[in-house]
Structure formats: C-alpha cells, structure tokens
C-alpha cells in the first residue's frame, strides 16, 4: 500500500462547507476542553460560588432595603449574575486562543483550503456549550435556593438563547484581545478591565434608580444592563421587547466591529 495511489474517496458537496469546517474545528476545541476539564471551573463552580456569596452576603442587607425579602433579592440577582458570569466566561477563549495560536497546528490550518476565519469561528462555536453550562448551572442552582420562573418554558428558552447569543458575540472582543496581546496572562488583565466595570456598572446587583445620575447614564447604555433586563423579563414576566431589541442591537454591533478586528489581527499575527 502506498500513500497516494488509492482512488479518491467520496467527497462532500461544497455548499455550506465553511460552516462545516467551522463545526469540525469546534469539535477540536471541545475535545481539548474535555481533556482539561479544569478549564470548566469558570462556567461550573464560579456561578455557584458567586450566587451563594451575593445571595447570603448582600441578600440580608438588601432584604431590609429595596427588597422585601432575601428571596426577592434572589429573583433580582440571578438574571444579573447570569450576565456577569457569561461576560467573565468569555475571557477564557481569548486566553486559550492566545496560547493555541503559538502552536504549530495553526500552520496546518493556514495551509489548508479553508476560509481564513474558520479556525476562529470554530473556537467561538465551541464556546456555545460552555455558555450553555453557565445558564443551566446558574438557573439550576438558583432553583435549589428557591428561584422560580414566573413565565413559561418559552420564556426560559428565550432567556437562555438570548444569553448565549450575547456571550458568543461578546467572545469576539476576547478573541481580538487574545490575538493582539503577547501572553495569555495579559488577556486576563485587559479583559477584567473591561468586564468588571461593565458587569458591576450595570443593573446586575442593585436597581439602577439607587445610582447617581451620571452613572445611570452609563448603566442605561451598558449592553449587560440590557441583557440582564431582558432576561429578567423573560424569566419573571414584564415587558421585554425594548431590552431584547437593544440586546440584539448590541450583538450585531459587537459582531460588526470585533469579528473583523479579530480576523485582521489573526491574519497579521504570523
């Protein structure tokens, strides 16, 4: 038997092939995640710890303040924490890509007749499952603490779907930073500078009406605030159209700006 003389085997049709390649590479990233499950701490233990901390540390104080009971605060807090945890979970992809791209296998991808963006898109698609875990664990653990969905299954699916879509778009910021900076450690530092003000400077932990006016102005345009409000509405009831709309607008905006930036940085990085 020789390496080359065998007849060409079946080939797949060429439609949607770039998407197919991206899914093949998403699978590669998922295998890597499964082989190093400690990488999942930020989407498994972290939401639980944050929920416990904020629920028991702040819940009591707020219980006497803006919220009637600790349970009322849980209902307010959980959708907010979901937004924050997703934003924080997006840091990992920038770090991983920063380390991954130094390895030879990206030379292999570059020498194959696949689209330039495919390795990046594949890596982001693999994040879908991590973000899904954030949603399942946050809402599941919240349920144990007494959180209840006041709407219906459709509301739950909508909230989870919107959250994952937003996180997948926000991940491109992280990918871009990962392509630009030298080390994986600096991705963490830079992304924290972005994620902390975005997640705390939002309606995640306290109602926006308690804040000074200038901060309210920031909070009201903050994409995480829109996501959190939309998720609150979808899980607990109330008007959602405007916040869902704003969240989709942010998703489109993030993709339109950071996908090309990330791709350009990736292509230049060799």
């Amino acid at each position: 038997m020789t390496a080359l003389s065998i007849a060409l085997p079946a080939r797949r049709p060429r439609q949607y092939r770039q998407l197919r390649y991206a899914l093949v590479l998403a699978k590669r990233n998922m295998i890597k995640i499964i082989r190093a499950p400690e990488q999942l701490i930020d989407v498994t233990l972290q939401p639980i710890i944050f929920l416990l901390l904020f629920y028991y540390v702040f819940g009591g104080a707020f219980g006497g303040g803006g919220f009637a009971t600790r349970h009322d605060y849980l209902e307010f807090l959980l959708p907010g924490l979901l937004g924050q945890t997703l934003a924080m979970s997006s840091i990992a992809i920038g770090q991983n890509m920063n380390a991954d791209i130094e390895k030879g296998v990206f030379d292999r991808f570059r020498s194959l007749p696949i689209g330039r963006a495919v390795p990046l898109v594949g890596a982001v698609l693999a994040e879908f499952f991590r973000y899904l875990m954030v949603c399942v664990i946050s809402i599941g653990f919240g349920y144990i603490l007494g959180f209840r969905i006041h709407t219906n299954l459709l509301g739950l699916l909508g909230a989870v779907g919107l959250s994952i879509c937003f996180a997948l778009a926000f991940a491109w910021v992280s990918v871009w930073v990962g392509m630009k900076v030298r080390s994986a450690g600096s991705v963490q530092g830079l992304m924290m500078l972005l994620v902390l003000p975005l997640s705390f400077g939002s309606n995640t932990f306290v109602p926006v009406t308690t804040m000074p006016g200038w901060l309210q102005a920031f909070v009201n345009v903050n994409p995480i605030s829109h996501l959190v409000s939309a998720v609150r509405g979808l899980l607990l009831g109330g008007p959602v159209a405007s916040d869902v709309g704003w969240t989709f607008a942010w998703i489109a905006g993030l993709l339109a700006v950071f996908f090309p930036l990330a791709l350009r940085a990736y292509i230049r990085r060799t």
Binding site: R11, L25, I31, V105
Partner: protein, 326 residues
Amino acid sequence: MTELAIEATGLTKSFGQTKALVGVDLAARRGSVLGVLGPNGAGKTTAVRILATLLRADAGTARVNGFDVRQRPNDVRASIGLTGQFASVDEDLTGTQNLVMIGQLLDLTKRAARQRAAELLEWFDLSEAASKVAKTYSGGMRRRLDLAASLVGRPQVIFLDEPTTGLDPAKREDMWDVVRSLVGDGSTVLLTTQYLEEADALADEITVINHGRVIAHDTPHGLKRVVGGQRLTVRAVDPARRGDLLRVLGDVAGLDERAPETDGRGTVTVGVDGDDVLPDVVARLRAAGIGVEEFSLHLPSLDEVFFTLTGTRSGSDARKAEEVAA
C-alpha cells in the same frame, strides 16, 4: 499547466531589519525532488512558508502546481501538503482524531476521512498509537504523524521543511524511504535540509542558499564535483604522529587545491575522488606504522560545502543569523 510544479522568481522577504530572502529563485520539475540546502537562518523556512501561502513575499513571484501563490492561494492550498520543522499536529488530539479532522477539512466524508486516517496511520507504523493523544508520542512518531497529516489530501506538491532534523539515523532512513515512495507516486517534493548527505540521497536537483541568496544550483553530482567529492577523515592514535599522517594522506589526495585540513586533536581530513584509494591509504598507514583511532569516508559537511562555494565558513555567520531569526 506548466512543466514546473514549483517555480519561484526573485522572492524577497524582510522581517523588520532582517533580510530573510534577497531574491531567491527556485524551480522543481513535476515528479522530482528539489533539495534546498542551507544552514540555520539561511531563509529555507521563509521560502517554504511563502510557497505554502503562509507568508506573503515582499517582492517576487511564485507558482505552485501552476497557481500563483498570491492570486490563487486556495488553489495552491488544495494542491500542497506541508510538513514543518516543528510538527504541526494537535497535541491534545489522538493520532486518528488529528487525521480525521484534516480529512474533514478537505471535504472528505466522515467515513472516508476515518478510512484515510487508518490507512495513513498504518503506512507510517502508527496504528498502535492511533487512539493515544499525540502529546504522548515520541519525537519521531510526532514527525511521522505530521507527515501523515500533510498527505491526507493526496497533495501533488509536498513541502518538507527539515523533515529529519532531530531524528536518529534509523528513523532518518525511514523518512528517506517515505520521500522516495511519494515521488514514486508522482508527487513533487521540496525538501529543505542542513545535510548535503540527505540532499544527495534524495534530491534530483539541489539549490544551496545562504543569507537569503542562492549561491549554487546543480544536480547532486554536479555539486559534489564542485565541492570535491568525498572526504576522508583519519585520526592518529598518537597525536604526535600528525605530521606523518598529513604526509601520507597528502600523497594520496595529491591535488593542491584540496589541501588537508586538520584540527587540534590530530584529525586530518582530505578530499578524495572515491573509495578506490582506501586500500592504498590503509597500506601506507601500516607501512608508516601509524595507529588509527578514527577512519571515515563521508560527503563534505555543509560547512565544507560553504567553504568551497563562498570561501567563508557558514558556522559562525549561521549562528548569528539564527539568533536574529529567533
């Protein structure tokens, strides 16, 4: 389609202040092996990366399998296989997963990709390690998996960038056999190497580059004629007999331009025309009563080739260039 599978003219590439390539021409006929010989930092890898569409040349043109690397990179990519100096396999994936992934990225159905992976793993003697993670592979196994990965799509043009660097001699011979059978199947191979011996064993034509410039292009036979055929290295047991050793070898080698070279440990190297002279040398050494510790016939080293071609040693310059490149 042209007669040439690889055709590059005036390739120029700088990285900041470092000039990696200064107008390199390369050409390989279909179904032949082109050896690109040069020290570390000569520009070999840069040239390969340009031809494989991983890098864009500052100037010059290149066609691979008839496609311009700049205008039709995807057609080039569909025609080539690339095996780098550093194995480009995914260490977290198994041997099979690596090859199936490449197959799927080349439009094979999952079934065909699996079949092709099994075929290649068997061919490269990796079947037993097929379901082990590549991280656990030895250097030689990783190199073979890397080569297998570059052959999944049955490429017509194969780039092998120093495929045997770091391999032990037996594994190197295996790799040579692989290259020969690829060419036997009609592929064109561009092979970079630091060893004249390797280029001599495999290449139909050899291009020698140094400091980003082509300094020679010839058949192995022609190149060896220029650099003076084989070398005979002899070391006397008693370093004090070096003078006698020099005289004996000088008599045999004869020609003035191939003056004997010596080093501090009593080793003398002379150029000889072939192994015919060996009995004569042995007889003369015995007659002179010189005990021998080392006696070897070999092709000139890269350093000796460079000395002959350029009149300067490649060693120190090459090291400097390597530091710059790193």
